[in-house]
Symmetry: C2
Subunit: 333 residues, 2 copies
């Protein structure tokens, strides 16, 4: 294993310390290092709290700030944060308008956020709602997950719901909006290499020189099949056709095309995939109205990428365009 680290037991705390030092104008780390929160809260705004295992950076801490999240709870690498982290974070950012938990669909995360929501309601009487993302169409019921996994589409949900929260939408409205955005998103990933969890010290899975894992999850969990490495166009075609088929009617719809790197793949290849995916979606009559290209929802050092298509009506496009100021996404402010 080759990593820039001092030890597997301190990689998370040192990385979080560096992150919050580097972005001290936007975020702060609570005293015990349990969560990252916005430096300045906005009284009366519904608080958005997300979290999950570390190793997916910049997700979620990189999306804390104006126009997106109020707090993020990082677990150990690829391990759910604990209910007490979530409760502490929610209490720290709730200004009285309620809390929305945004949760990627993995069993550990869902269970712990569930427990945190109950604890919050019991302890404080606070209004807490949950929003589950499950945009990955590659597989049903995979390792760690019942149903579909929540992957890169979570960024789209957090951005759009975050903008609406900033504009004053109430908790029930935000939950419904998030469910609508989640339903509008479909993702599909491919890995060319494994990732290596620091504490494990060896690759999560073995993969041959000429192979890819087609439909991989963001923890390196198995996808649809192991297959010979194909051309970018052939890979994109199978991913995009799967997405279009799953979405149903797409012709004439405006969409965000999000090509997401898994951590070990350079931008040059991601833009090439954008080019390929765009042509395929446009062939189905989709209007690529917005795009995002980069490594935002990662799996440590895994090579590969995912493609997300989000069909966005005009009101959702406007929320996507709304100002955002976080460590990883920033425009308009």
């Amino acid at each position: 294993m080759k990593k820039l680290m001092n030890g597997a037991d301190t990689i998370l705390s040192e990385s979080l310390a560096g992150f919050t030092q580097a972005h001290a104008d936007i975020v702060t780390l609570d005293g015990s290092g349990k969560f990252v929160r916005r430096r300045e809260l906005r009284p009366g705004k519904v608080a958005l709290v997300s979290g999950g295992g570390s190793g997916h950076e910049p997700l979620h801490a990189g999306f804390v700030g104006i126009g997106m999240l109020d707090a993020a709870c990082p677990g150990q690498v690829f391990t759910s944060p604990t209910p007490d982290q979530m409760v502490e974070a929610a209490q720290a950012v709730d200004t009285g308008a309620g809390v929305l938990f945004i949760v990627k669909n993995y069993e550990g995360d869902v269970m712990n956020f569930d427990m945190a929501a109950e604890m919050m309601a019991d302890m404080t009487g606070a209004q807490v709602q949950q929003l589950i993302t499950n945009d990955d169409i590659a597989v049903e019921d995979s390792l760690f997950t019942t149903g579909r996994r929540g992957v890169a589409g979570t960024l789209v949900v957090e951005k759009i719901v975050g903008a609406a929260a900033e504009q004053g939408m109430d908790l029930a409205g935000l939950k419904a909006l998030g469910e609508r955005v989640n339903r509008a998103c479909r993702s599909f990933g491919v890995a060319l290499s494994s990732c290596t969890v620091p504490a494990a010290g060896k690759p999560t899975f073995d993969i041959g020189e000429g192979e890819m894992e087609f439909g991989v999850g963001i923890h390196g969990e198995p996808g649809r099949r192991r297959a010979p490495l194909a051309t970018a166009d052939a890979i994109a075609a199978e991913m995009c056709e799967g997405i279009v088929k799953d979405l149903g009617q797409v012709a004439g719809r405006n969409a965000l095309l999000f090509v997401n790197g898994f951590g070990g793949t350079p931008l040059m290849e991601l833009y090439l995939m954008h080019h390929s995916a765009r042509r395929l979606f446009e062939g189905h009559g989709v209007q690529i109205a917005r795009s995002l290209t980069g490594s935002y929802v990662t799996a440590l050092d895994m090579a590969g990428c995912s493609i997300t298509l989000a069909l966005l009506d005009d009101d959702l496009l406007a929320l996507w365009d709304a100002p955002v100021r976080t460590a990883a996404l920033r425009w308009g402010v």
Copy 2:
């Protein structure tokens, strides 16, 4: 070799096509694909043109836009662009106030930009000046370079000179400003893996499981020595001490700390390096007034990072903070 591509001969053109489609609000690709330029020029502003081999994305095309470059010329992977590319780009963006070429110190780039400057002067009588960056303190006179290499500090030069150009500074002033920023920057890189040039199809260099290339260049060229992989703190200490020693007097100075990934290293490790480097520089009395953390000046899929410290006086900090709207750096607009 595992890359998301259709073939080594089309990776550059397809990636550039995707890049300009994804950022069509900011940039455009000229008809023959020779350079990326700003969609909207500002008459009377000095034009800033950079370029170099591809494989360092987002450098340079990702820095074309308001507040940074007017045009970028991409060569083939790790290969200088040609003088005719540079001349075409310069002619396309010169609005009469002259052109400043920003050139990383590599022999091929320097020679071709030299030739382009002469051709521009002969053909059009345009005012053309050149600014060479050479911030890498790791080695002198390495493969491809006489003197020191120009690396991640080039981003800092392009940002600050770009802001001053936007504010109306003239050509001579911009050249002098760029030289001042370059003198204020020092960088040092380390690689944990090689990169693989698509046309070569195999790693540029061999490196053992327990080794690092200390002082590596952004094409995978040799550094100071091959050494056993050390802890992040030990690596950062040697890099930062080298930088401080080379800068001389640093106590009490404001600085930008830029931790740059080489393409294959995830953010989690880069923020950990930020944490380590910050502590070391602060120990020398440096005030870390600004920071940037991410993969901006890359070497394809190489794992590793560089640390850049730029000592910035208040006027340079203000130019760093000035609005920028490019594919890869964006704030304030």
